[in-house]
């Protein structure tokens, strides 16, 4: 929590003029009809999209972040590790060297970097 956020909170607390528990019914109807009209217009444009289930933006952001300059080294390390494991799995039993490696640690480093990168972007998109 930064000082600027605290100050903006104080400013916001002064700008709240009125809060109603329930909207007046007459206005609600009008709004509803307006909404319906808007919805119809939108529905015409986005009919195909509405039928589909909403798509989460988080995996997309994560992928972008993993390819960003900051997290690319971690991604590289993880990919290398995954490759080694794959090689180990592909090799026949007699030719295998050492134990089967676990890439959990590399994955942790990658996800740690990705998480820090995704958090502010995701929060800007979510309601």
């Amino acid at each position: 929590m930064t000082l600027s956020q605290f100050l903006s909170d104080i400013y916001e607390s002064f700008t709240v003029a009125e809060a109603k528990a329930e909207a007046p019914p007459a206005e609600e109807k009008e709004e509803a009809s307006e909404d319906k009209e808007e919805e119809k217009e939108e529905a015409a444009a986005e009919e195909e999209e509405e039928e589909e289930e909403p798509e989460d933006i988080m995996p997309q952001l994560q992928e972008e972040c993993q390819n960003s300059k900051k997290c690319a080294p971690y991604k590289h390390h993880y990919d290398e590790c995954a490759e080694r494991v794959q090689k180990w799995d592909d090799a026949e039993e007699g030719e295998r060297e050492g134990k089967r490696e676990s890439c959990v640690e590399e994955y942790f480093h990658l996800m740690h970097c990705t998480g820090d990168c995704v958090a502010p972007k995701l929060w800007a998109k979510l309601k």
Partner: protein, 318 residues
């Protein structure tokens, strides 16, 4: 007296000066003479002391320097990412629309396994639902009634004062239904886990499509990096569009996770909004008291600070 002392000191000073000079001369002579003799020993001592210093600090670092971890990173679990929660500020409240959506997610998704046993229906009134909505939801559930005339306990529809019913009769029933894993009660889960909101959000959204290469996932468990040990009995439950929100918000995985975590934070800290308001009251009253105290101090001290005490001796006596 004074003049005599001065003279004495001057005579002493003049006498002592040549003696000091001779001493200095002797000292310099001695050091010059002895330097060649003592230097090799001193140098050796310096090297030895330096070596000992390096060795002892190295030994200490070897003993106590590196931290020993009892757990491997996988056993420790990945620390959750810090998210900028809207309600985390000093003056910010819960987003009550999010609470309403979050309750819907809890009711439609989480409630099939997790209880919320410390939250009665009445607490939802005015927070996320109206009285009528809360009553209607309570009436959908059945509760034990008072014993009737025959002593039998009948069922009655729920009231606002009833607690939200648990999915299982007891912990053993819950374990039996979940392959031995107990779904924890969610009433205080945000307070009961390290990382709080961040942890639960990360856990809900952190299930990878497939576990990382080489990770050991025991049978019946699922891989989640944020869960200590990475093997969690709960499978991923939040999928896009699993819930349909009343207010038209797209029910994506991350949106549902955010809403339900905010709701669970409310369940754990229902007093938060009121507490922050109380904090503002305290600050406001304190500023008033400060102003008052300064004025009172000024008023009380004014006569003391401005008074003048004058002693006028009686003139006739002397």
């Amino acid at each position: 007296m004074f003049s005599r002392n001065c003279l004495r000191q001057a005579s002493r000073f003049s006498k002592s000066l040549p003696i000091r000079q001779t001493i200095r001369r002797n000292a310099t002579d001695a050091s010059k003479a002895g330097s060649e003799a003592s230097q090799p020993g001193l140098t050796a001592a310096a090297y030895a002391a330096t070596a000992a210093a390096i060795a002892s600090s190295g030994w200490y670092f070897y003993q106590y320097g590196p931290t020993v971890h009892a757990l491997s990173p996988a056993e420790e679990g990945l620390h959750p990412t810090k998210y900028p929660w809207a309600h985390a500020g000093f003056l910010t409240t819960f987003d009550h629309q999010a609470l309403r959506r979050g309750f819907q997610v809890y009711r439609e998704v989480c409630a099939s396994c997790h209880s919320l046993s410390r939250v009665p229906w009445r607490t939802l009134v005015g927070v996320s639902h109206t009285v009528d909505e809360a009553k209607a939801m309570a009436e959908e559930c059945e509760y034990d009634d008072e014993p009737n005339d025959n002593g039998d306990i009948e069922k009655r529809p729920g009231k606002l004062s009833d607690y939200i019913p648990a999915p299982y009769a007891n912990d053993e029933a819950a374990r039996a239904a979940n392959q031995g894993a107990l779904p924890p009660d969610l009433s205080l889960i945000v307070k009961g886990r390290h990382g709080g909101c961040d942890y639960i959000f990360s856990l809900l959204t952190g299930y990878p499509d497939e576990p990382p290469a080489g990770a050991a996932v025991p049978a019946g468990l699922n891989f989640n990096p944020y869960f200590p040990g990475t093997g969690i009995a709960m499978a991923r439950v939040l999928y896009d569009g699993i819930v349909e929100y009343d207010d038209g918000t797209p029910a994506t995985t991350s949106q549902m996770a955010k809403d339900v975590v905010e709701f669970l934070n409310w369940a754990a800290e229902p007093e938060m909004d009121e507490r922050k308001k109380m904090g503002m009251k305290v600050l406001a009253i304190t500023t008033v008291m400060l102003a008052l105290s300064i004025w009172v101090k000024k008023y009380k001290w004014a006569p003391l600070k401005t008074r003048k005490i004058v002693y006028s001796p009686p003139k006739d006596l002397h």
